[in-house]
Structure formats: structure tokens, C-alpha cells
């Protein structure tokens, strides 16, 4: 007789796969772990902290790769279709995490587990197949070498209705910019975890389970979801795409600003997707230009018209919704390049291969987007590497001899496409660049370190920390550095946490923009709340864009209580966010990462300040910011190390 079905939102088990000895087992996870760290990223932090030995080689057998789903996934809540890949990152040698949407997240839970953890190394390429009654490692010899779309197509022919996550050639070749793909082009791209999967010889996960996901109070879940849906459906007609640039210019020039409401951002996302920010971001100084040395003046209104969001939606055949998303910011588009279709390029991709390399050819962006998705490579890191190479070429660190005669000139679509192909195939100069800008600068030497923009080895994203110093802080001080989704002042405004969380500082309705550039305890507590809340969202599997709706419109804390039957307050959940943050920091310290060494340097901080453009004269006092942030957590203000007592409190939970 089986025990009654668990009605707690989470499945209470994990699957552990050892590729070396080819064993698969399920392990029960205690209720206490879920209460302390939730599920998703928090559960992964707990498992990986205890199972990856100190000093493990990220590409060796001792590293453990976790594929985890969120606590709220499959519970009748909205925006909760995120799944995460975690492990020791080969890019940073510390905590690595990547986050993705699509339809893979519920598939993990429908196999009866909250996470699948893979250790060891297989001597032959394999894929993992799981359904309701079986879990098997199968030969992937014929799939090895295929791109992500081909791999998924082949596997779905064999297993109709299953969900697939796989790597492409970039992961197989262990490029440290490789990610994991699902839904033929949605990528868990960051932290180089596709290379870990490739090193393990694991080509794909194929999940075909049908287990039910029980919740404590189904009616309450639906009631809260209906409140959320009401706000999402509110969609007044909006501007034509080209007028988004003047909106950005207005935001740049106003000395006083209104607290930004995520509802406005939601309207933009529903109409265009993330490409809605292409022009606004450049005008307001949020988008870095020309490898962080350019400005909005180098990529002004007319040049940037190439990124008019209407140009992207014109090519859109249909919208793409991730699981449980009522918004649908994604899309499937036609392209004129090598491939007939591609997922609509995201803002990060458009800027990485647009203003960041001064490229005005949108068709190239579509083509590179699909090329990199198929290769299974992170478009943010790849864009950084291309820009880095172009600056190296400009400064004669890379010469025509190195590039087989291809001139790596800023903005040249041919040069960009050629270089991307070289990097994917690790050919010629591509072999030097395929592991990210930090490794490339180490190989090329000379002055290239000065313009290799990264945090602890991971490339930064397309959000300029000189415009919003919150990005500089979270790029620098998060356990997984260089990620833009961890937090920013803007995000904090949109979360509206002060409406639910007692300790969260309230933002006035209108404030002077100069306030953004101060370093006070208010900023530190805003950043702390950002990190805590992001950990709660990653534990619950909530999309960042859902969080932008604001705490009263998307009631994540209420959903968590209705799903689990717990009676925790928002402050209790934020405390769980602190525990997850401390555990990830403890993971880094265990593996010899010094948090202060991950702090961003040089241009992204405005050192030296820019002479013109939206961020003219701005610089970020990152040391003061990190000190205040670590102090807010009660950690050592110089080293970022939690106290022994804090570490013991999170590492002894069983």
C-alpha cells in the first residue's frame, strides 16, 4: 500500500544519478529542509554543499549537477514554470546557477522528484530517461554531435509528449560559455554548466512522468491566481515601438523620478517581450555600449532604430508561453538566415550583438540567436567575447594573422558571424575565446585584462551598473557573480516588498535620482531584500517578470502557504532567503572562493567615468556598497564571510 499522496506542493524526494557506476536512486528529503531552504535553488544549495567535495574539479567526476524545479511549479499558480541548473561553475570555480523557463520544470516534478542530481562521468555519451515506472541511462552515441534542436527533435520522435533538456556542440566541446537548452532554444545559459554536462558525457534528460502534484488548499491557490491573472490581463493600447526611445530619453533627463511600477513593464513585455527595452535602455543609460567604453551618444536614436521592438514582433509567427505563464513574452519568429525559425531574440541577445558590438544588422542578430541556441551557448557571454575580441583587434593584440585575414571591425556583421562560428567550433582564434573573456584575457595577456568585463570570471549582462549601481553590487557580491537577475534598485522598486515585508525599506513615490548613487544603510537593506526575495523566487520557481508585478498583485508568500499548508509570514520566507544566500556563500568559501575577488573592476563601475552620454561622470563606489551589503547580512564587511555560527546554522540542517 502506497502512502497517501503528499499535498504539500513539493514531491519530497530527489533523484541521484551516478554516471560512473551507472546507478540511479531516489532519496527522501526531510520536511525540515523544505522549511529551511524551500525547494528549487535552495534545495540544490543544500544538496550540493554536502555532496561536492572541497576542491572538486568543476569538469571532473566529483562535481554534481542539479536540475531542480520550484516549489510552486505545477500547483495552479502563475509565473511558476522556472527550472534551474546548479553546480560548481567552471567559469567562476564557485557556486554556479542558471535559470530557464519553457516546459521542463513541471516535467521534473511529474517524475515524482523535486530535483535530479547527476554526479560522476560516463565513459560513453548517455541520456537519462525517466517516466512513471522507470529511470534509465541510455546510449546517446548517435545524438552526440547534434545541435540542440536536432537532439530534441530526435528524442521527441522517440518519446512523444516528453520534455527534453540537452546540450549542443558547445557543451560537448566544454566551452565554458555553454548552457543547457529546452523547448528548442530556451536556455539555462549562465555559469558554464553546459560544459559540466558535456564533461560528464550526459547529452540530455528526457522526462515523461505523469505524477500528480498535490497542494494543501487548491481553492486558495486558484483564488490567489485569479488576482494575479486580473492584473496580467490589464493591457491598455501602447506606443508604437520607435517611440520607446523618447521614453528612455525622458527617464534619462528627469532629475526627479517616480517609483517605477512593474505593471508598466508588464504592459511592455506582453506587447513586445523583452525586446521592448532595446531602445529605452540605451537612451536611459541602462545598456552598455561598445564593450562598456561607449555610451548612448555612440549608439544614438537613429543607429538604435535598428533595434525598434516592432521589427522583432513583425517577424513573430506566434507568441511563446512558458509553463503557467499568462503573459507570454516569448515568441517564435521567422529568420532570413541559415535557419527558417528561431525563438524571438531576448533583450540581452539583441544588445549583446547590437549596441555592444555596434552592429545595426537585425538579420544577423536573428541568425546568431538561432546559431547560438543550437550550439547551446550563452548569448550574453558570447556577445562579450566578440566585443572583447574586436577591441583586442583594434588595439592590435589580435592581428589579421590570428584571424585568417578576417578584419574584426566594430559593427561588421560578417566578422561577428564568422567569429561566433569559430568560437562554437573552437577553431583558430575561437579556441582562445571559447572559455569566456577572463580566460581569453589570461591567454592573450598584454593590456587585454583592462577591458575584459567580468565578475569572478563570469561576463556581465546588458545592464549598466553606472546607471543603476544596484547591478554593480549584485554582479559583484552574489555567490554566482555577474548575473543580472539577482537584483538591482529598479527591481526592488517593482517588487514593492515593503507592502508585505516589515524589514523592507519603503521607497517614496517620487524621489531625486541622485539618491540612486548614494551608499546608505537603506541601499544595503534594499540589496539584501533583493537577494532574499530572489532566493525565495528561485526556491518557488517564480519568474522574475512575475515578481515585477509587485507583492500585492503576485502573492508569492500566500501561494507558498496555500500550497504547503505552512503558516509562515513573509518575513519567515525572507529569512529562508537569507539562509539560502548564506549557504551559497558558504559553498564558495568551502571551495576557496574569496568573495572580494569577485568584485567588478574598471569600466562597468565608471572607473574612469565616461566623458559623455547618459552615464557621463558617474562612478560607483563598489567597496562601500559591498561593505554595507555584507554588513546588512551580518557578515564580515571586508571579506564577505558569514560568521562560523551563521554557517553552522545553515550547514547542519538535516
Amino acid at each position: 500500500m502506497t502512502p497517501p499522496r503528499r499535498n504539500t506542493g513539493f514531491m519530497g524526494k530527489i533523484m541521484v544519478v551516478d554516471l560512473t557506476v551507472k546507478t540511479i536512486e531516489t532519496q527522501t528529503v526531510s520536511q525540515q529542509i523544505y522549511r529551511s531552504f524551500l525547494s528549487g535553488m535552495g534545495l540544490a544549495a543544500h544538496v550540493l554543499y554536502h555532496n561536492i567535495p572541497k576542491g572538486a574539479d568543476p569538469l571532473g567526476p566529483d562535481n554534481m549537477l542539479g536540475f531542480v524545479s520550484g516549489l510552486l511549479t505545477g500547483t495552479g499558480s502563475f509565473f511558476t514554470g522556472r527550472w534551474m541548473v546548479t553546480g560548481k561553475s567552471p567559469l567562476t570555480s564557485g557556486w554556479g546557477e542558471a535559470n530557464c523557463g519553457g516546459h521542463f520544470s513541471p516535467a521534473i516534478k511529474r517524475c515524482g522528484v523535486d530535483g535530479i542530481f547527476v554526479t560522476g562521468i560516463s565513459d560513453q555519451p548517455v541520456y537519462l530517461y525517466v517516466d512513471d515506472t522507470t529511470a534509465l541511462l541510455k546510449d546517446a552515441g548517435l545524438l552526440w554531435g547534434m545541435d540542440t534542436v536536432e537532439t530534441e527533435t530526435q528524442l521527441l520522435k522517440r518519446y512523444p509528449g516528453a520534455r527534453v533538456a540537452c546540450i549542443g556542440p558547445a557543451g560537448e566541446r566544454r566551452s565554458l560559455m555553454a548552457g543547457v537548452s529546452t523547448d528548442k532554444g530556451r536556455m539555462a545559459a549562465r555559469s558554464g554548466l553546459g560544459a559540466v554536462m558535456g564533461a560528464k558525457g550526459l547529452k540530455a534528460l528526457v522526462l515523461a512522468g505523469n505524477k500528480r502534484i498535490g497542494v494543501h488548499n487548491k481553492e486558495a491557490m486558484k483564488r490567489i491566481s485569479r488576482i494575479c491573472s486580473k492584473w496580467v490581463q490589464l493591457q491598455p493600447p501602447f506606443l508604437p515601438g520607435f517611440l520607446t526611445a523618447p521614453v528612455g530619453a525622458l527617464l534619462r533627463t528627469m532629475p526627479w523620478v517616480f517609483t517605477q511600477d512593474g505593471l508598466l513593464y508588464k504592459i511592455l513585455l506582453r506587447k513586445w517581450g523583452t525586446v521592448s527595452m532595446n531602445q529605452i535602455s540605451v537612451e536611459m543609460g541602462d545598456a552598455p555600449i561598445k564593450n562598456w567604453k561607449g555610451s548612448s551618444r555612440d549608439w544614438g536614436f537613429f543607429k538604435n532604430l535598428s533595434a525598434n521592438p516592432d521589427k522583432f514582433t513583425k517577424k513573430q509567427l506566434r507568441k511563446f508561453h512558458c509553463y503557467s505563464c499568462p503573459l507570454g513574452c516569448g515568441g517564435i519568429c521567422t529568420t532570413t538566415g541559415r535557419y527558417p525559425f528561431t525563438h524571438k531574440p531576448e533583450y540581452e541577445t539583441v544588445l549583446s550583438f547590437g549596441g555592444f558590438v555596434l552592429n545595426r544588422d537585425v538579420n544577423t542578430i536573428f541568425d546568431i540567436n538561432e546559431t547560438l541556441n543550437r550550439a547551446g551557448m550563452d548569448t550574453i557571454s558570447a556577445g562579450h567575447v566578440v566585443a572583447f575580441a574586436m577591441e583586442c583587434f583594434e588595439k592590435k593584440i589580435i592581428t589579421l594573422q590570428d584571424t585568417a585575414g578576417m578584419a574584426l571591425k566594430w559593427g561588421s556583421p560578417e566578422a561577428i558571424s564568422w567569429l561566433v562560428d569559430q568560437i562554437i567550433h573552437r577553431q583558430g582564434i575561437g579556441h582562445i575565446l571559447a572559455d569566456g573573456v577572463a580566460k581569453a584575457a589570461g591567454r592573450l595577456g598584454q593590456e587585454s585584462h583592462a577591458f575584459a568585463a567580468h565578475a569572478g570570471g563570469q561576463e556581465l549582462a546588458m545592464h549598466d551598473s553606472r546607471n543603476d549601481p544596484g547591478f554593480a553590487l549584485h554582479y559583484s557580491a552574489e555567490p554566482a557573480p555577474g548575473r543580472h537577475t539577482s537584483g538591482a534598485w529598479l527591481y526592488y522598486e517593482m517588487y514593492q516588498l515593503w507592502k508585505k515585508v516589515a524589514a523592507a525599506p519603503r521607497i517614496p513615490l517620487v524621489y531625486n535620482k541622485a539618491r540612486k548613487y548614494e551608499t546608505t544603510s537603506i541601499q544595503a537593506h534594499m540589496a539584501k531584500a533583493n537577494s532574499q526575495f530572489m532566493n525565495v523566487m528561485n526556491g518557488a520557481g517564480v519568474c522574475l517578470f512575475g515578481g515585477f508585478l509587485g507583492a500585492r498583485r503576485i502573492r508569492i508568500f500566500d501561494w507558498l502557504n496555500a500550497a504547503t499548508g505552512w503558516h509562515m509570514t513573509p518575513d519567515d520566507y525572507m529569512a529562508a532567503g537569507t539562509r539560502i544566500q548564506t549557504l551559497k556563500q558558504a559553498f564558495n568559501l568551502k571551495h576557496g572562493i574569496q568573495p572580494k575577488n569577485c568584485i567588478v573592476k574598471g569600466r562597468p563601475l565608471g572607473h574612469p567615468p565616461q566623458a559623455r552620454g547618459a552615464n557621463k561622470g558617474r562612478s560607483v563606489d563598489i567597496k562601500a556598497l559591498t561593505r554595507a551589503y555584507w554588513e546588512a547580512f551580518g557578515w564580515d564587511t571586508e571579506t564577505g564571510k558569514p560568521t562560523d555560527r551563521q554557517i553552522d546554522a545553515v550547514t547542519t540542517v538535516l
Partner: protein, 140 residues
Amino acid sequence: MAFFITKDCTGCTACQRICPTHAISGEKKQPHIIFDPACIDCGACGRICPAGAVADPFDRMALNIPKKEWVRPVFDLDRCTACHICIDACPANALDAVLQKVKDLHPYPVLTREPDCMGCGFCAAECPLDAVILEKNSNS
């Protein structure tokens, strides 16, 4: 908790063939058994069993219903937000997301593989907006 098969089973294999999780095993003309951990309580075995040999998790005998009278989902597109929760909830993989509304690029759910639908109603149960209505098969 799962459905179970009583000794009245004639071994016709109808339940085994329809079970979406392959939880039922047994030789032809021999009593079949349900592997508890794999059962998702969709009830398809009970609806299809001609011998009335299947009991639900509460020990009530499941009622045999002619297949043409099984309920089918109908989608209220004015309420639906294209979140695809229903598509994922379908254990028979009978639903797909398809463009339907003019000038609306959101793909909404459609019952594209009607013969595969087992009338389990999971799609309706999971929908947070009550946009899935269960109706008897229009051919019945």
C-alpha cells in the same frame, strides 16, 4: 492511494492498454494488477473495464461508461490566458497549443488528439481560471 483491480478481472487488457502511466500489468485472460506508485488516479481503467472490476481509492467500484460518453474538455477562450497548465496536466498528451484568435498570437489549448482523451478531467481541475469546461462527447 491508488485504484485497484478486484478478482472479477477477466484479463481483457483494456485497462492495461489505456493506462497513461503503464501502471497496469498482467497476462491476457489473467487478473491484472495496478502498480500503486505509478497510478495517478485518472480513473480511465475503471471507466473502460467491461467487467466492473476496478475500485477507486475509496473502495467504491468504478462505473463502466461507454467511451463515446466520456467527457471532453471545451475551452472558454475569453477566460483562458494560454498559460498551458492544462496541456501539461493532460496525462494522455491529447492537448496542443494552437493559434486560434484572429490578431492574437497567443496559442490557446485545443484537444488535437481526441481519441487519446480519457476523460480524466485533470485539465479542468488544474485550470486556475475555470476556463476548461467538461462536456460529453459531441458525437455521443
